[in-house]
């Protein structure tokens, strides 16, 4: 049996040799990696128009605006937009995030020009027809009704409120019923005309297409876009300290299962702490059957179907959390087990075997993440978003292998303190 650690064949990974990058005069950055083993193209992108830019009384405005872009443009109605896409088996969707609003699309390679044309019209000329605005509102409000009944969603929402007091990350991107109700068509038009522009926008494409053709298509469709009013990008402050463990339970009656989310703000994706934190987290709550936490809560105690930890990828201090779904009667026991695991994790360095396994799995899974065009398009965006450099994947294996158990311990202690956690639970 092969017990050698995983290793990478650098030639097969995206790198400066096969990623083409171009910056248009208006600021749009384009990244393309051709892949003629496939018949399709995937496109992805973002621009700085996320929920950070919305006022508190209109939370959900960025997402509402993104949802409205394809509901009608100066050139095409809702039906015409979706008929153009669905008739050829293509797709395009926009969604609001925290820092940015993003889009992703897919088409057979011959149809890329249709995709970019609809992308252009949606970004530049949305009309937000009143009837469509009300339709989106109904859909958003229904989504919030469902969220209010979802123990996992509510535990996560309460966690953000506890861990990010007075910080922009405390707000849910989909807002609240009263803020969604307060948003007008005028708000959408204003948000769009102020916030949407070429500066800070990045587009990536992977698939059966030459970079020159993509560059030309984007130049032709978005090259003359201009928005002199586009504001500077917001940088978020550091996360507030949690001075002692804070707990809050959100009651949702009659649920069979309760959910818990606990943790604290973690490192930014741009921080040198991020890779050690991710490798350590893999040991804490991912590797194998959900790491040490899965072993304690699921495999040994049989308390949960899922119990895992994660470090989120964000420009700012995204959350480092443990999540689990348990029978309401077992909530305290599960919390105790998880906190014990965190205590052990920040007390001693991870073992050499654990670290070797974690590194090997991180290195070995990279080719799978980059298997599809959509996976590559998303990876290219991350290179740009977090300033990782075009040679990031070429250096990936060496970078992972450099991390030591002591470094993981040091970084983990910086963010995870078992006596200073935000603990959110939701259920009956």
């Amino acid at each position: 049996m092969n017990k050698q650690p995983a290793s990478l064949n650098i030639e097969t990974l995206p790198g400066p040799q096969d990623i083409a990058r171009k910056e248009l005069e208006n600021g749009i950055v384009i990244l393309v990696r051709p892949n003629f083993n496939t018949l399709s193209v995937s496109l992805a992108g973002y621009l700085p128009a996320g929920s950070l830019y919305e006022p508190e009384e209109k939370l959900g405005l960025a997402d509402f605006t993104a949802s409205g872009l394809m509901r009608g443009t100066q050139q095409r109605s809702f039906q015409e937009i979706y008929n153009s896409l669905e008739s050829i088996g293509a797709s395009l969707r926009f969604s609001g995030g925290t820092h940015t609003s993003g889009f992703s699309g897919k088409a057979l390679a011959d149809d890329l020009d249709i995709l970019t044309e609809i992308l252009k019209q949606s970004l530049l000329n949305p009309t937000f027809p009143s009837q469509q605005v009300e339709r989106i509102r109904s859909q958003q409000l229904t989504g919030l009704d469902l969220r209010a009944q979802d123990t996992g969603d509510m535990a996560s929402l309460v966690f953000d409120q506890l861990a990010y007091q007075n910080h922009p990350y405390r707000h849910p991107g989909d807002g609240f019923p009263e803020t969604i109700a307060a948003i007008t068509r005028r708000d959408l038009l204003d948000f769009h005309s102020r916030q949407y522009g070429p500066r800070g926008m990045v587009i990536s494409v992977s698939g059966a297409v030459q970079p020159e053709r993509v560059f030309q298509l984007i130049e032709d469709t978005l090259g003359s876009w201009d928005n002199p009013d586009q504001p500077e990008e917001i940088t978020v402050p550091p996360a507030p300290d949690i001075s002692e463990t804070i707990k809050r339970h959100h009651t949702i009656p009659e649920k069979s299962q309760a959910d818990l989310v606990l943790g604290a703000p973690g490192p930014s994706r741009c921080s040198p702490d991020f890779i050690p934190a991710r490798l350590g987290n893999n040991i804490l709550g991912q590797f194998g059957m959900m790491g040490r936490i899965g072993d304690a809560v699921r495999s040994k105690a049989g308390l949960a179907y899922y119990a895992y930890s994660s470090v989120s990828s964000s420009i700012g201090p995204g959350p480092w959390t443990v999540s689990a779904g348990v029978n309401p009667a077992d909530l305290d026991r599960a919390l105790d087990l998880i906190i014990q695991e965190i205590e052990a994790y920040v007390s001693q360095p991870v073992t050499g075997e654990e670290l070797g396994n974690s590194k090997s799995s991180y290195i070995g899974k990279l080719p799978l993440a980059l298997e599809s065009n959509a996976g590559v398009a998303s990876a290219l965006l991350n290179l740009e978003r977090y300033g990782l450099g075009l040679d990031y994947y070429q250096n990936y294996q060496a970078m992972i292998n450099q991390v030591s158990a002591e470094e993981i311990l040091e970084v983990s202690r910086k963010y995870l303190d078992p006596d200073r956690l935000a603990v959110a639970t939701a259920g009956p």
Partner: protein, 432 residues
């Protein structure tokens, strides 16, 4: 798009399908067993799924924790799925590490321990999985609709099983189930990716050649009698959102009516792909029901539908969220009118070709994933044959407008359906 496949059968009955794909250094390996919730009787519901969980708890050679670690350290992914008609285990791994997956699966086909302590711990895990689902109104409604649609056939119960059985099934029941169905003459191995077929076949022969075939595999034979009239039911619970499931008894995947009904579904609720592992979908905003119910009438907030491919006749289901401004009856009237339109008038040929083009695009997207490619090798064999997937888009394109009208008239009639509604409690009216 669908490259040549090599097919073999070992003397012990084990079927093997191999497809070389050399675009990336990845191999996806699947072991399919012809066992699922259709093989379960009352008192044993959920047993196939629970056995699947226990297959991750180890053999004398590969203890449970060790299995997870060995696979994970390669960066590979592995998982298992239990369905109505089948259970499948897969590993997608760096090509040079695949032998681990081959050895592990060959070993656990025969040698899983079913340690009583592991069975006990997993009982509460499976119950927790069920309780997590019960949190969602959509699950509660689906479970009730299915139970109303199947009085006799084991498709009656959810794959996860009933709570009562999850509490009462014992270790020996689970072990019996494992020994009955996990054997070469009830299994199929599908491998796609970066390997040489001859070498792979030799290795599989080495690993499985000595596995005893086992006798005939028992089946539960309880066909569902035709439904004699519409069933209507309600499920009540917390929340504010009203849901409707309309489920029509449909044909099995091997029936000639299946493809016309797939086209019908694509027209009504949008295209469905066969991509289990990435590739994405195509939105359904211009489908007939979405246009009528969401865009034109505000009868629904959102909707989707689907016709699963099964061995025995199952259900063609359409689910929608009722718009807050409508009564459920009003929303159902809009729904009925659109079904009636398809029964009165065949669709245009162009609509069918559009649906076929969507299916081809979805195939192209899905084929980027080696895991999907390997999935397609085994999946159709569980209810038809690999040819089913090879001719899938051609069969869709060959559907005639009058076939679509005919299946609409045949299947989409009230006496053949269950209409289930999830009703939130009115404030202050919650039962004590």
């Amino acid at each position: 798009m669908l490259k040549p496949v090599k097919t073999f059968q070992l003397p012990n009955g084990l079927q093997i399908k191999l497809k070389e794909i050399h675009t990336a250094p990845i191999i996806s390996h699947w072991v399919w067993y012809r066992v699922g919730s259709r093989d379960e009787i009352p008192g044993r519901t959920g047993i196939s799924h629970w056995v699947e969980h226990l297959q991750f708890k180890g053999t004398p050679r590969f203890p449970g924790e060790e299995m997870d670690k060995l696979i994970s350290r390669t960066g590979g992914i592995w998982n298992a799925l239990t369905y109505l008609d089948w259970t499948t285990y897969f590993e997608t791994m760096p090509a040079d590490q695949i032998d681990l997956a081959l050895e592990l699966e060959a070993d656990r086909m025969l040698n899983s321990s079913f340690d009583p302590d592991e069975v006990a711990a997993e009982r509460t895990v499976v119950i927790s999985e069920r309780q997590g689902r019960e949190n969602h109104p959509g699950f509660l409604l689906k479970e009730a609709v299915r139970a109303a649609a199947f009085r006799v056939h084991p498709y009656h119960h959810e794959i996860i099983g009933d709570q009562a059985d999850l509490e009462s099934i014992q270790r020996d029941d689970l072990f019996d189930h494992y020994q009955t169905y996990y054997r070469p003459n009830n299994a199929l191995i599908a491998v796609a990716g970066d390997f040489q077929a001859e070498e792979m076949l030799d290795r599989l022969k080495e690993l499985y050649g000595d596995h005893p075939a086992g006798g005939p595999v028992p089946r539960v034979n309880r066909p569902e009698p035709p439904q004699k009239g519409e069933h209507r039911l309600t499920v009540e619970g917390p929340g504010e959102t009203r849901l409707v499931d309309v489920a029509y008894h449909g044909p099995p995947a091997s029936d000639p009516d299946f493809f016309p009904l797939m086209i019908l579904d694509s027209l009504l609720t949008g295209p469905q792909g066969l991509n289990l592992f990435g590739g994405g979908g195509v939105s359904n905003k211009t489908s007939r029901l979405y246009t009528k119910m969401v865009e034109e009438s505000d009868a629904a907030v959102d909707l989707y539908g689907g016709l699963p491919a099964t061995i025995d006749p199952f259900l063609y289901s359409i689910h929608f969220i009722v718009h807050p401004s409508m009564t459920i009856d009003q929303a159902l009237q809009v729904f009925e009118a659109e079904i009636q339109r398809l029964q009165d008038e065949p669709p245009a040929e162009g609509e069918i070709q559009r649906a076929a083009k969507q299916a081809r695009a979805l195939f192209a997207y899905g084929s980027e994933s080696i895991t999907n490619q390997a999935f397609w090798l085994g999946f159709p064999e569980m209810f038809a044959s690999y040819d089913w997937v090879v001719h899938y888009t051609d069969n869709l394109a060959a559907v005639k407008p009058e076939d679509v009208q005919r299946v609409a008239q045949k299947y989409l009639v009230p006496r053949n359906r269950v209409v289930g509604t999830y009703l939130p409690y009115q404030q202050g009216q919650k039962p004590a």
